[in-house]
Symmetry: C2
Subunit: 491 residues, 2 copies
C-alpha cells in the first residue's frame, strides 16, 4: 500500500500529493480546481468542524445560513473589498438551458439572461451586511455573533488539493458590535480560539500576529493570523481574524442608536478557517509511510488487525477483539476492527500506516494464549506487547502521549528551523538554501516589503504579537525598526 | 409579539409567512428566490441534521463532498435526467470581472468565458457517478454508501421560504451496489429511515408509497416517497428515495467484475431530504399564536421567565433558576433563562409562544416562597403549578407527553381529513370543497392521472405501500383497478 509514495526529502510536493491520494483523502474532479473530498478525508474534516463549532458556541456564537449568490453590484460598495475579491470569481449569467436545435445535447438559452449577474460567493461580508442592515436598529440588537459553515469559490489559476482549490469548504464568522473596543476584543478572541484549536487538536504550533498592510484582508483595518511551519520550512496561514472597523457598515449603511440615542455606524469583524487546515495537518506531521493523525482528530483512534491461519483462530480472535473494543469504547476511544478476509495482515498494516491511525493492535493465536496484544504507535512506529487486562487504560494514556509528542516534535522542528538574522545576506542565504522562518527587522514600509518579496519570494507572514520591543535596523534599508517581524516563503 | 400573525383559518398562506418571519426562522434575501436562514431557524435545522446524520451513520453510510459545479455535458449523458433537471438551472459562463472603463463599478470580463459552461448542481448524480467510475472495478469495491450535506440550486419561478427556494440545503445519499436486490433493499431502508425521523422526531405522521411514472425522479426506475398532511389538508412530500437501476452506471460507464469475474453495470440508489422539512414542521403543528416545536427538535426545550418588581426579587429568582436549570440539564434537557430587563414578562411569554418553545416556567416571588413553579405547555397552552422539588422528572415526562401528543393530534387530523371515495363526483367535491387526502381507484394510466390533475389540481401523491389489494373501478374511466392510490393537492 505505501508503495508509490515519493520520498519527502526528495520531492516534497509529490510526497504531499501522494499522501492525499493514497490515504484516500481527496482527489481532483472533472471540474478544474474543484476537488472531491473522499469519506476518510471528510471524516477528519467533520472532526475539525465538530470541535470548532463547539468552541464557537462556547464563545456565544450561533450558526445561520446566507445565500450562495451575491449580486454583482454588492461588491462595488466597499472600495478595497472589490479590488481584493471581485475579480477571479465564478459568474452566473443565465438561468436556463435548452435542447439544441440539432438534437446534440443542450445549450444555454440566450433568452434566460439575468438582468444583473450573480457572483458565487468568494466570502460573504457583502450579502451578510446587507441582511444586518435590516436586523440592527438599536444597541439592544447588538452584538450579533453569527457563524456560517459554507462552500465558497475563488477562481484560482494554480490549484492544489486542500491547499488552494477553486471551491473550498470553510466557516466564516461575521459579528456586529456597538463599539470598536468590543469588535477588537472579538477579533482577538477568535484568533485565540483558532490558535487553541490548531495547537491542541491539530498538534501544530502556531505564531500569532498581525498582518502588514499589504497582506491584510481586503476591507479590514487589522488582520490577525496564525502561521504554522510545514516540514519543508514553508509557512502556512491556518486562520485569520479581521477587525473591519465601520467599513462594511458604511458601505451598506448600517447604523444604530446607542444608549444615549446617538446614531453611529456599527463595528464589524469577520474570521475564518477552511479545508486548508487539512493541508496543514497533512504537511505538518506525515512521513514517508503516509499520514500521521493526532488522536483528537483521527476518525478512529485504534484499529485491530487479527493475525490468523484458519477460521477457528479468526473466530476466537474476533470474540476477544469485541471484548477489547467494548473496554476501549467505554472510555470514549474510537476503534475499528478489520476482519476482512480479502487482505493480508501486512497489507492492512501498510494501509493503516498510510491512513495515519494513531494506534494499531495486532492479535494472533499466541497473543490469545498469553493474554497479550501487540500495540504499535503510528507516530514513532514503536511496537510493544501489553497484557489485554487493563489495555484501555494503557491506550488512553498512549493517545494523550501521542497527541503531546506530535505537538512537541512539530515545535522542536520549528525551533530548529527558525533563525534570527541581522543582515540581508544572511537572510537571503537562509531563505534560499535552508528554508524556515526568519525573524528580522523591517522598516515598516510596503515598498521594502515588496522589494524583499520580489528578490527572495519571502513575505512577511506576520508581526508576532509577542515580539519583543528592541531597537534594530531594517535588514534591507538600514532604517530604524522597533521589533522583528516573521519572514518566510509561504503556501 | 404575536400581533401581526394572520389567522390560519382566514389566510393560511399569510399565516405561514407570518410565522416564518415573526418566529425569526428565515427571510427573503436580496437574491431572488434565495433565503437567509436566521439563527433560530438554523438551530432547528441543525437538530434535524444531527439526528439524520446519526441515523445515516448507524445504517453504514459515510459522508463525503463533491463539487458544486457540474460540466454542462454531464447532464446530457442520462436521457431522462437531462429532461428533468438540466433546464431551470444557474449557469456559470465566466470566471472573471473587471473594472468598467467608465469607472462605474465592475462588469463581466468577456475574455474570461469558460469553454464549457458549468451548472450549479441541482442534484449530484452525474458528478458523483463520474467519480464512482474511478472508484469501482470489482465487487470488492461495493457497496459504496455515501451521503453528502450540500446546497443545491433549482431556478424556481415561484418561491416560498423553506417550501420552494432557488437555493436550498439538503442531504443527498448516493449508493452503488453489486445487485438490483441490494439496491432495492437500500432504497426501501432509506425511506424507512426518513419515515422514522419524520414521525418520531418531527411528530408528523407520513404515508409511505411509490410514485407513479409521471411523478418519478428523472432517471429512476422507482421512487419511494413519504407524504404528510398539512393543516390546510394539502400534502407535502417530505422525503424521497430512488432506485436508479443501472441508468447512471450506463451513462457514466461504471462496470464491475462480480465474484464470477463477469463484467456488469453497477446498481444505484439516491435519496434526499431538504430544508423543506422545516416548512413541513411549521405547517403541520403551528397555531395562531405561532410555532409549536416538538421537544426533540426544539433548540431549547424549556425557557424560564422571572416575574419580579425589583432587583432583589430578580436576584433571588435568578439564584433559584440556576438550581432548576442544573437539575434539568443533568437530565439532558436544554433550557434557557431569560433575565433580560428590557422586556416585560408578558412580551417574553408571547415571544416564546411565537418561537414554539415546548415548556415555559414562570417564577415569581410567591412561587419562591411556596417552593413552586408555574409550568405552561406550548402545545395545549395549559398551565399548572408544580413543586420545584422533583421538577426535572416532571419536565422529562411532560416533554415525552408533548412529543406524543403532537404526533397523535397530527395523526387524528389526518384521519379526520382522509376520505375513501368511489365516484368522481364525490372526489371532485372533496378536493374542491373540503380538502384532504382521498383514497380512490385509478386505472394505472398516465393519461387518466393527467386528466384528473388538469380538472381538479389533485395529483397522485403515492401508491401506498400498505394499500389493501381489492378489486375496484377507476373513478375516472371505470376501468379495473387493484388498489386505491392517494390523491391530494400538494405543495
Amino acid at each position: 500500500m505505501s508503495k508509490g509514495i515519493a520520498k519527502r526529502s526528495e520531492n516534497y510536493s509529490q510526497w504531499y500529493n501522494d499522501i492525499v491520494n493514497k490515504a484516500d483523502l481527496a482527489e481532483n474532479s472533472a471540474v478544474r480546481g474543484s476537488m472531491v473530498i473522499k469519506p476518510y478525508g471528510y471524516a477528519i474534516w467533520e472532526k475539525m468542524q465538530a470541535q470548532l463549532d463547539k468552541m464557537f458556541k462556547e464563545t456565544g456564537h450561533e450558526n445561520a445560513y446566507f445565500p450562495l449568490f451575491i449580486p454583482k453590484s454588492f461588491f462595488s460598495k466597499e472600495a478595497d473589498h472589490v479590488e481584493g475579491f471581485a475579480k477571479e470569481c465564478a459568474v452566473v449569467t443565465h438561468y436556463r438551458l435548452r435542447n439544441r436545435a440539432d438534437g446534440k445535447g443542450i445549450e444555454v438559452d440566450p433568452d434566460a439572461k439575468l438582468e444583473e449577474e450573480l457572483i458565487v460567493r468568494p466570502t460573504s461580508e457583502t450579502i451578510i451586511w446587507n441582511s444586518y442592515k435590516k436586523w440592527i436598529q438599536s444597541y439592544r440588537d447588538l452584538p450579533i455573533l453569527i457563524n456560517q459553515w459554507a462552500n465558497v469559490v475563488r477562481w484560482e489559476m494554480r490549484t492544489r488539493l486542500f491547499l488552494r482549490t477553486a471551491e473550498f469548504l470553510w466557516q466564516e464568522g461575521h459579528t456586529a458590535h456597538a463599539t470598536a473596543e468590543e469588535a477588537i476584543a472579538e477579533t482577538k478572541q477568535m484568533i485565540n480560539v483558532y490558535a487553541d484549536f490548531v495547537e491542541n487538536y491539530m498538534a501544530v504550533p502556531v505564531i500569532k500576529g498581525t498582518k502588514t498592510e499589504n497582506e491584510r484582508f481586503a476591507g479590514a483595518l487589522e488582520t490577525y493570523s496564525i502561521e504554522a511551519m510545514m516540514q519543508d520550512g514553508k509557512a502556512l496561514q491556518t486562520g485569520t481574524s479581521h477587525f473591519l472597523g465601520q467599513n462594511f457598515a458604511k458601505a451598506f449603511d448600517v447604523k444604530f442608536t446607542d444608549k444615549n440615542s446617538k446614531l453611529d455606524y456599527v463595528w464589524a469583524t469577520s474570521w475564518g478557517v477552511s479545508t486548508r487546515l487539512m493541508g496543514a495537518l497533512i504537511m505538518a506531521h506525515s512521513d514517508d509511510k503516509g499520514l500521521i493523525l493526532p488522536p483528537k482528530l483521527a476518525p478512529y483512534q485504534v484499529v485491530i488487525v487479527p493475525i490468523y491461519k484458519n477460521q477457528e483462530q479468526l473466530d476466537k480472535i474476533t470474540e476477544k477483539a469485541k471484548e477489547l473494543m467494548a473496554a476501549l469504547r467505554a472510555k470514549g476511544i474510537t476503534v475499528k476492527y478489520d476482519g476482512r478476509d480479502t487482505h493480508r495482515p501486512g497489507n492492512k498494516f501498510a494501509e493503516y500506516e498510510l491512513k495515519g491511525v494513531p494506534v494499531r493492535f495486532a492479535i494472533g493465536p499466541r497473543d490469545l494464549e498469553q493474554g497479550n496484544v501487540e500495540v504499535a504507535r503510528r507516530d514513532t512506529l514503536e511496537k510493544k506487547i501489553y497484557p489485554q487486562e487493563g489495555i484501555a487504560d494503557v491506550v488512553e494514556n498512549l493517545l494523550d502521549e501521542i497527541q503531546k509528542n506530535m505537538y512537541n516534535k512539530a515545535l522542536q522542528f520549528r525551533k530548529d528551523n527558525t533563525y534570527t538574522v541581522d543582515t540581508y545576506d544572511e537572510f537571503k542565504d537562509i531563505i534560499e538554501n535552508k528554508g524556515g522562518f526568519v525573524l528580522a527587522h523591517w522598516d515598516g514600509s510596503s515598498e521594502t516589503e515588496e522589494k524583499i518579496k520580489n528578490e527572495t519570494k519571502a513575505t512577511i507572514r506576520c508581526i508576532p504579537i509577542d515580539a519583543v520591543e528592541e531597537e534594530g535596523k531594517c535588514i534591507f534599508t538600514g532604517k530604524p525598526s522597533k521589533r522583528r517581524v516573521l519572514f518566510a516563503k509561504a503556501y
